[in-house]
Subunit: 156 residues, 2 copies
């Protein structure tokens, strides 16, 4: 049994979610929380990407702070964001998370570990100089993309 499944099962076993109304509120809150978390990734990545592209002047302190934020975010415990039943088949347009995520938890956790590793490296590199920042951004983008490609509904 996967971590997320067992976590959800444990919550269900507690009788925390007594009926559909409560369950929906729980699912809505989880979706909102993971969207908030993604938004904070985007906010910090946006600044670093702007520097990498030369759209924003490189600032070592600001780059280091944004990269440290990313590493903190990636290391946070996110198990409660992904209860079963919070996929886009069950919830419709409220979320773009595909049901496949719950069928491939080992892969998801592997990508999550890759993101943590890449953001930790970025946090070391970003405040050094622009070339170091640029070099370290690639692996972060790869980890983001790996999850989005397989487990997020395309907008196309």
């Amino acid at each position: 049994m996967s971590i997320l499944r067992s976590f959800t099962a444990a919550l269900l076993g507690l009788g925390v979610f007594a009926g559909p109304a409560l369950a929906d509120g729980h699912l809505d809150a989880a979706v909102k929380a993971r969207k908030a978390h993604m938004q904070l990734y985007a906010f910090n990545l946006g600044q670093l990407g702007g520097m990498a592209k030369g759209e924003i002047d490189y600032d070592a302190a600001a780059a280091g702070a944004a990269a440290a934020n990313l590493a903190d975010l990636a290391a946070m415990n996110q198990a409660r964001y992904w209860p079963e039943g919070s996929d886009n088949f069950a919830m419709g347009e409220e979320t773009r998370t595909l049901p496949a995520l719950w069928d491939n938890i080992d892969d998801v956790m592997k990508i999550s570990g890759d993101l943590e590793e890449a953001t930790t490296a970025l946090a070391s590199a970003a405040g050094q100089d622009l070339d170091s920042l640029r070099a370290a951004l690639g692996d972060v983008g790869k980890a983001c993309g790996a999850c989005h490609e397989d487990y997020r509904q395309s907008n196309d």
Copy 2:
């Protein structure tokens, strides 16, 4: 010059925000980011508060994870969330942040430090037992309330 003011001034000095349209986008992004951050506080606090009130069975691992998330969130660099001009007088209903926040940055930073300290203590206490969790929640609530009372528009 306060940290936030000098940070904003530095960004303006870079010419990053060339005109009203870009400036608005920057302010909107900052407001969304701070709302996302607050939502993650609420998501993690909700679980801990539910345990403290007896609405959710106490679970040491889950409590410890949620409290660690709060401590990580409180320690993150949030300077870019609060550019000048992103108060509710300037931006209307998009935000409830009062202009007073920018006039009292020392107090805001003091409360921010209190929150970081209180969440660090909570992260140590929450996984021990329910009484420790309950005892440590009080100071977290005080720090949240201190900022909301003085710098957030009341809903009344």
